[in-house]
């Protein structure tokens, strides 16, 4: 039968997925949620240990004498400065300095890197590798990945790994073994909490899953779908391709494109690095002149929203999961931007959104209004621009 792919964990995840809630991700089926109500999965990320199948992440191994040079040229980070075992988060742009995609670069050894991406990028990478001694291999199907997120994950991992992860620093990786099986563990994630990503050969996936589930049973390990992760990533101020921005290669019109600066990624743009990289000139210009747009955090004023609902005699009603839909944001009666993802934050007890705002409305503290729908009517709830991330526990990097 013609269908999308299942991930290497499917045998386990499908048995646990009670509500038949599947989502498509890069040509794979992944679990949206394992339970009928998201709460427990969300809280596993924030309070115990969430096990998330992230195998559909697109992965490339980039190997060869010029591997570093290629990534240095394609991405905005200073790849030559990367140490072996280091991971960096980065975006990559077109010549106009507009984002194509984003992901992580891991330096596995001197001449070998792993790049993760949301979308296929083989063509783009190859186009940039002309005359370079480098081999680019897509390993998406071969390498299974588990994102293991939450404050108890370190304790659980240490029960099963050959070498303790205690010394593994934020955005570093290590080769390790779980029950004799070779894995790579990186201190990375998409939740803004303490967490790790475990990379393994697809054939070992089930064994690793079972080992972790067993070891984590006493620590509240919980299989978690991507819907709960979606709430956590908004709290962490992390955006998503095709939801919060459009790849410049997919955009129909100029205004759909975003630069890294416009997405708040200033810290990932190494304008001080040596040599050419794609988009350099445009980014330098934007840096000089300032950005027209910026992605920031927006916090809806709960009391203000309550008052709007009160007019129709209702308590505030907002979706209990992240909403990937554009909501207009106003200053006075003029639209000055939009929210691309909004969510109720069960931890903060706040309604929050990732907002794209025009200059000068993106300054922290600016009072704005965000569209809400109250009994089929468009209303505007008072909201304030805040710093991202919304939530950052002290143990994230410790």
């Amino acid at each position: 039968m013609l269908n999308l792919k299942n991930t290497p964990f499917h045998e386990r995840t499908s048995a646990l997925c009670q509500p038949q809630n599947w989502r498509k991700w890069a040509g794979y089926f992944v679990v949206g949620s394992y339970e009928h109500v998201l709460d427990r999965e969300y809280w596993a990320i924030r309070n115990s240990a969430a096990l998330i199948d992230v195998s559909p992440l697109i992965k490339y191994i980039i190997k060869g004498k010029d591997a570093a040079a290629l990534l240095h040229r394609v991405t905005t980070r200073d790849i030559h400065k990367m140490k072996i075992g280091q991971v960096v988060y980065t975006g990559w742009c077109d010549e106009e300095g507009k984002m194509i995609d984003d992901g992580t670069v891991s330096r596995l050894d001197e001449t070998t890197f792993r790049l993760t991406a949301a979308e296929p990028n083989l063509r783009w990478l190859s186009m940039n590798a002309v005359d370079m001694q480098v081999e680019i291999t897509e390993v998406t199907d071969d390498i299974a990945a588990l994102s293991f997120q939450g404050p108890n994950t370190r304790k659980v991992l240490n029960k099963v790994v050959e070498n303790s992860v205690d010394e593994l620093k934020y955005f570093r990786l290590m080769k390790n073994k779980i029950k004799g099986i070779e894995v790579t563990i990186s201190r990375t994630g998409y939740t803004g909490d303490l967490g790790y990503e475990i990379w393994m050969n697809a054939k070992d996936a089930i064994k690793i899953w079972d080992t972790l589930m067993e070891a984590g049973a006493d620590y509240g390990i919980t299989p978690v779908g991507i819907l709960a992760m979606d709430m956590a990533r908004v709290e962490a101020g992390l955006f998503m391709l095709d939801v919060d921005y459009t790849s410049s290669t997919h955009a129909w019109i100029e205004s759909q494109k975003s630069s890294p600066f416009e997405l708040g990624l200033d810290w990932t743009v190494a304008l001080d690095k040596q040599g050419y990289f794609v988009g350099r000139r445009a980014l330098e210009k934007e840096k000089r002149e300032g950005s027209e747009w910026k992605m920031v955090g927006l916090e809806v004023d709960w009391v203000g929203m309550e008052n709007i609902f009160k007019r129709v005699d209702l308590p505030p009603q907002i979706p209990s999961m992240a909403v990937r839909g554009s909501l207009p944001i106003l200053s006075g009666n003029v639209q000055v931007g939009y929210a691309s993802t909004s969510t109720w934050s069960p931890l903060l007890k706040k309604y929050i959104a990732l907002a794209h705002l025009q200059k000068p409305y993106y300054e922290v503290g600016t009072d704005l209004r965000m569209e809400i729908t109250v009994e089929h009517h468009r209303q505007h709830a008072p909201a304030k621009v805040v710093k991202l991330p919304f939530y950052e526990p002290e143990w994230k990097k410790r």
Partner: protein
Amino acid sequence: MTLSNNYDAIIIGGGHNGLVAAAYLARAGKKVVVLERRHIVGGAAVTEEIFPGYKFTEFSYVVSLLRPEIIRDLELPKHGLKILPLPSTFTPMENGDYLAAWDDHDLTRREIYRHSPKDAEAYDEYARVMARAAKAIKPIINLIPPDPSSLSIRDMMGLLKVGQYAASLKEKELYTIAKLATQSSADLLEEWFETDALKGTKAASGIIGTFLGPRSPGTAYVLLHHYMGEIDGAFRAWGFAKNGSGGVSGSILNAAQALGVEIRVNASVNQVKVKNGSAVGVILENGDEIQSKVVMSAADPKRTFLQFVEDKYLPDDFVTSIKNFRTRGSSGKVNIALSELPNFTAMPFEGKGHDSVLHRGAVSISPSIDYIERAYDDAKYGQISKRPYLDMIFPSMIDPDMAPPGQHVLSCFVQYAPYDLEGGWNDERRNQLGEAVISTIEQYAPNIRKCIVGMQVISPKDIEAIAGITGGNIFHGELLLHQIFFLRPTPQWADFRTPLKGYYFGAAGAHPGGGVMGAAGMLAAKEMLKDGKL
């Protein structure tokens, strides 16, 4: 460090209300000290390791009513507050079956349908009627109760607000509220349902913290009080705070300290110091004196007025009505350290029970209204219920950090355990209470005894002795109709002020009552700031 002895405000009692009040005052720039009798703050919202490695949420154990504006104003999540979901209520039945309410609406309906198709239908309608009633009376929570007999501007304005509010109610809501105010929870529930376990479980929340049975008039209101937390839209139902109720107090403590509040533990107050008819500070039991512009008590009404203040500073009728304030403790608490989970025969698990869904939520021993009424019969005549109502949760199943890996803790609320026990409370009677609980659980989970690693039995006398609540009543005074709103704690003095100038009262014994709401502390602090003495 040298401690200052001069403050804008002294808060007596470091329970959650005391801490909330202190934080709000400090937030307004005031210099505040909290004086706590024990070595830890939290009052009845504390978590302690009675047995090493096992954390007991000793007294209060769930959270729902904590005011969302307090969570936001004091930024409690930033200070560690995490309210974890408590997704279900499981009621094992005497015939070996069970009744459960799950977090998913369809699952719950299907479950009730199994017992009664009619009840499954009524369930939704009942929930809507209750939610509407709760929503209708909820604005009252944040009102300063006006004195209906007073002609002062403040009270008149307050009455006007109540009047406007009453006028805004729809006819139907008014009838519902009038019924709820006068009915027994049994009468109310019998109008709706036919399944005994459903009625029993619902009725149980109408007796909590009162010395009444489900057939006593007035209990329908208590039922409504517990509904209040469920109507804040996304705020949802009952939850369990990370680290138990101590986690709630802990986050308020962190917030208060970040705002500059000074906390003194082992600082037992002997008396409020009065000068020229005004409270001007306190005298500690060790003789130390601390001065302040105002004093607020977050202790229970009896301690606040009968112990801390000499009678001569208070009007006689006021003292009499405080003496008459009903604080009959009717419940106890049994906290158990477990080597493994008790396995309920109605829905047994295999293995160690990590995935046992029922253990993630509440387990209610409330098979019928009669069962609870019989439990009350024992208590009426000064006895511990032979078969008590139990409300159990397994905190370690919700927050694994509550017990050593693979081990568990059980928090068991037990009613009735009367404060005025015939023959008085002693170790033997405490054991009797523990035994009543264990043998009750044993009926439904026969392996309970061999799971027990350690057990803490808390009688109402112990609640009084440890948490300092007179009578051991978990609400600092029963939520009876004659003890709420402008009658709480006494007529004319429901606005957090007291007959003694500069002395304020902001705890569960004041409006709007108990349940780890924090509302009394917040409202009292706001009134204190209004009076211009600070």
